[in-house]
Symmetry: C2
Subunit: 217 residues, 2 copies
């Protein structure tokens, strides 16, 4: 899904990519902090040290820019789910998936917030993504989880709700980072706290659905 980065062909080409990346990163932050309407092209331009008119050269409209920001985090999430295919047993597959999702919450908090924002408001811009890509993706994972249940490897839970629980719990650490930091004496999680959160979330969910852990050392 994520295309490999190719070498720039020329000075122009390289500069163009840098500028695009800078704009997207800045826009992600501004959109996350202020919402679609609250974010202004001027603020994004200032954040990227560009004149506003230059922004419109690369992204003709605010919506174009926004859409690319949303698509980016979506694809990152999709990639994180390869563990469903590569890992054989539920403990490995789900454990890896949850841990990856937690990592993404830490490394891409702004993207997660933009997505949350978009969906909360009824997904006006990326509605088609939900109906096509997300639906197909979800159905395929549900099938895998349902198979585990039918084979007795996990409790007979509704796969949909399991997925929702994984999504909501992991993304909460990104989307509600401000609330979490406030309840953490006003400072964001450090390495150890992130590790503990990841372990805690993974344990509760895996135990909650009764995964049969093979090779209990």
């Amino acid at each position: 899904m994520l295309v490999p980065v190719e070498k720039p062909q020329s000075k122009r080409e390289g500069l163009r990519r840098e500028t695009l990346a800078l704009i997207l990163a800045t826009a992600e932050r501004i959109f996350a902090d202020h919402g679609f309407k609250g974010a202004t092209m001027q603020a994004i331009a200032d954040g990227a040290n560009l004149p506003k008119a230059n922004l419109h050269y690369y992204f003709p409209t605010k919506q174009d820019l926004y859409r690319q920001v949303v698509e980016r985090i979506f694809n990152i999430w999709l990639d994180a789910a390869e563990s469903f295919d590569t890992q054989a047993n539920p403990e490995q597959a789900l454990g890896t998936y949850i841990r990856k999702k937690m990592e993404i919450s830490r490394s891409h908090p702004y993207g997660s917030k933009v997505w949350a924002n978009e969906v909360i408001h009824g997904a006006p811009i990326i509605h088609d993504y939900l109906e096509t890509t997300l639906t197909e993706w979800t159905d395929s994972r549900i099938e895998v989880i349902a198979r585990w249940a039918s084979e007795g490897l996990i409790d007979p839970v509704n796969p949909r709700h399991l997925l929702y629980m994984i999504w909501s719990t992991t993304q909460h650490y990104a989307d509600f980072s401000h609330q979490i930091a406030t309840l953490n004496n006003g400072v964001p999680f450090n390495d150890a706290q992130w590790a503990q959160a990841t372990e805690c979330v993974t344990n509760i969910i895996l135990k909650g659905i009764g995964v049969k852990r093979d090779a209990p050392s």
Copy 2:
């Protein structure tokens, strides 16, 4: 926390309350669908069938109106946690709390969305609430959960992460209702689906933290 409703003293008084309630309900919906900046006083006025100037008579500024909407859902959530005090054992206390939170997600989806929106954007308006009321409330519940753990009634989980999991999972059904509906053939949950979601969430979490169920029939 929620003050009991008193009888209106006069025609004026009664009408005033109706108008206030209508404005708050409409504003909650508009703010949830469009965010603080995206919601316009004109849209709220139209939704409540009032002239915009009349809105400013009751709520001098947009921020005043917004703050009251946010405070409302916050107080509803606080009230839902009385089960921590009234229920003796963890299974009852947490089970009741989770079920109540799910009910609120169904009955007050707009309020939940407004809160999520606010926190995602760094809680610019209700920052003080997080630092005072929410911090105190959380600390007191953490104490209760920690006691259960020390008494061996539940696994030794970090109470903070348990709370976050309950919050995120239950509120997800409100905040991401559009995504959930889309993945549900485009229609919102019906009664049976809400019941199943509630049961599923409750079971996984309670089992996940290893609650000792007394009187296993």
